[in-house]
Symmetry: C2
Subunit: 354 residues, 2 copies
DNA sequence: CTGTTAGCGCATTCAG
DNA sequence: CTGAATGCGCTAACAG
């Protein structure tokens, strides 16, 4: 078969235990012995058997990262950042602490989220990072808390990134001020003079959707427009629902002067729909996104949005997962969402005000 | 500690072997016994120990996916597609064949590619999928072939996706007709009447870069412009090099009427640079991308590019990796790259022709 | 169809 | 500082 520890030991004229010690570098080993072992490893092209050592040591060097869909830039950037803290190049301690990230696409499905968690528990993952908003359903929340508790009981570190702390489990959390971001976006539009706003919300019953909507309503309330602008349509976080949603909003209120999209991707769909309807951005209708993904600045006109520090947050989550950073007080770190006012928003045109 | 197979066996009043059999579903087990075992599993909340079974069975259910950077949409889409063929929801055979994808960011570095391959060998990965173009350096090519041979010798399936077959190793390959795509793009511009083209190539010494450049030159040659248009600048596959590269091309040849970018992301940078220079697209300068990533159609003007069927190719690679699909004849499947003529290209304006 | 018997390759006691 | 012995939890023959 394959070359094993014993083969290396024989070649180096030492015991298997010694080889193990050299390789893991936890125990003192004589310099001479050490180099002899290392040479044998080279010569035999020995590669540790991960499963075997995971079994013996009762812990693997796999880290699970749950995302809705890795093809969505939001999650890709987050996952990439988490990644950046492990594996070759990250080098948290000087070499052999190589962790590997298992990326799991849940597709936003609660069941799959649970299934993946079980799969990761089966792998005896060293840590698990759950990214993005989560479904707000008591049943699921409880099931999730239970699963996570089992994981932490089994020694797996659990970190939440991009979602609020989970009731029933004290996982370390890195989250975004979605409420504040949405509020700033709405205030920005109101200050430009907009009064008839359309809001394209994300999928119902998700934390992210709710928080952003709450921020929006808060701003509206402060401006004394609480009751008025309940023009809201829910949809998925994709371009198509942006397109369809924009048309639906216009159907309901043709005199709309601004549309707030659930995120940048949705905003792109909104822009496409408006263009197809012959409406100019921002002269006829202002549009805002959310997240400030890389493409936002290249949209035409450049998208006014709110910047989420995804890379920072992801990296932070990665370090917390690997226990390389002291946890924030209270276990929760919240990142601010800055307004990026660009060309897709402007004062409403008097003509459309009618 | 944690509950084990033996615990379940005791609870169900059977032997550990039987439990293992019902869980893996490979051997015939009496219906009655089966359900008793399953019940015990439920009651004890038993979760298989992955490392232990991997050790005993000498194979894990981990699949490595090497990408340059998962934050780059090109790789994200590819990886997502590979993913889609495994894990919950893919269900290739009816349930428990759950594979998990380990995504490895090589950052385009040959050394890291090798390191990750070793790490995957250590995990006894069931398969490895290498995506994207590769560095063309004899030393690296050989080192890579050696590593891959070790992997296949150890029983790991190796699939290449988005790069040409590797000399020295007969891995299954799913690749794109980069040459043809670049040729079609160039022909498109030539047929519109362009004669002064600028080419923004990817990083030097990479297969993708070379193939696209070759296609470009082939088209130029056929048009009898071989010697003429050697206006080429190399750069990374990112927006910034698109921006800088466009400025550099314009410096070298201010009368340029078209720029072919290494890919869509680079094209976005080119567009930004042109706009900043007060040049209109496509009236003053036509621009083309490559890949047809989701955002290409939302650029303004919509980007003329070449469509790579990333999702199809990724899924195919995933199935091949899992041995769920019969390999193509010769072990190599090549996907065609279709021209997507959109608004960023048009005949050159007579005024600029001077 | 089911139980028994051996390891899989390594990390750790515990002695020396 | 090093070696010998033990077991991690599971699968895979081999019998029955």
């Amino acid at each position: 078969m394959s070359v094993t520890l014993a083969d290396v030991a024989a070649r180096a004229g030492v015991s298997a235990a010694t080889v193990s010690r050299v390789l893991n570098g936890n125990y003192p080993v004589a310099g001479e012995t050490r180099s002899r072992v290392l040479r044998a490893v080279e010569e035999l092209e020995y590669v540790v058997n991960g499963p075997a050592s995971a079994l013996a040591a009762a812990t693997s060097d796999l880290v699970g990262v749950l995302v809705n869909d890795i093809a969505d830039p939001f999650f890709a950037v987050l996952a990439s950042a988490v990644q950046s803290e492990m594996g070759p190049g990250a080098d948290g301690a000087g070499g052999s602490g190589q962790k590997m990230a298992i990326i799991c696409n849940t597709g936003g499905s609660p069941e799959r989220e649970l299934t993946y968690l079980t799969l990761l528990q089966r792998q005896r993952a060293a840590a698990v990072v759950l990214t993005g908003g989560t479904v707000e359903d008591p049943t699921h929340t409880e099931a999730l808390a239970t699963r996570l508790r089992r994981l932490s009981d089994a020694g797996t570190r659990v970190v939440l990134c991009g979602r609020p702390p989970l009731p029933g489990h004290d996982a370390l959390t890195v989250t975004f001020d979605n409420r504040g971001g949405a509020r700033r976006l709405t205030e920005h539009l109101l200050s430009l003079g907009h009064r008839r706003l359309g809001y394209l919300a994300g999928p119902t019953a998700r934390t992210t959707t709710r928080h952003r909507l709450e921020g929006h309503h808060a701003a509206l309330g402060e401006a004394g427009l609480a009751g008025e602008a309940t023009l809201t349509v829910h949809g998925a976080y994709d371009r198509a629902s942006g397109y369809d949603g924009a048309l639906e909003l216009l159907r309901r209120e043709p005199r709309l002067t601004a549309i707030l999209a659930a995120n940048d991707t949705v905003a792109l769909g909104v822009c496409a729909a408006l263009r197809d309807r012959g409406l100019r951005i921002p002269q006829d209708v202002s549009v805002t996104g959310f997240d400030d993904l890389p493409f936002a600045v290249d949209a035409t006109p450049a998208l006014t949005t709110v910047r989420l520090p995804l890379a920072d947050a992801g990296a932070r989550a990665g370090r917390l997962a690997l226990d390389r950073e002291t946890p924030p007080a209270g276990g929760v770190a919240t990142y601010h969402a800055d307004l990026m006012a660009r060309a897709s928003t402007a004062p409403p045109s008097p003509s459309r005000a009618r």
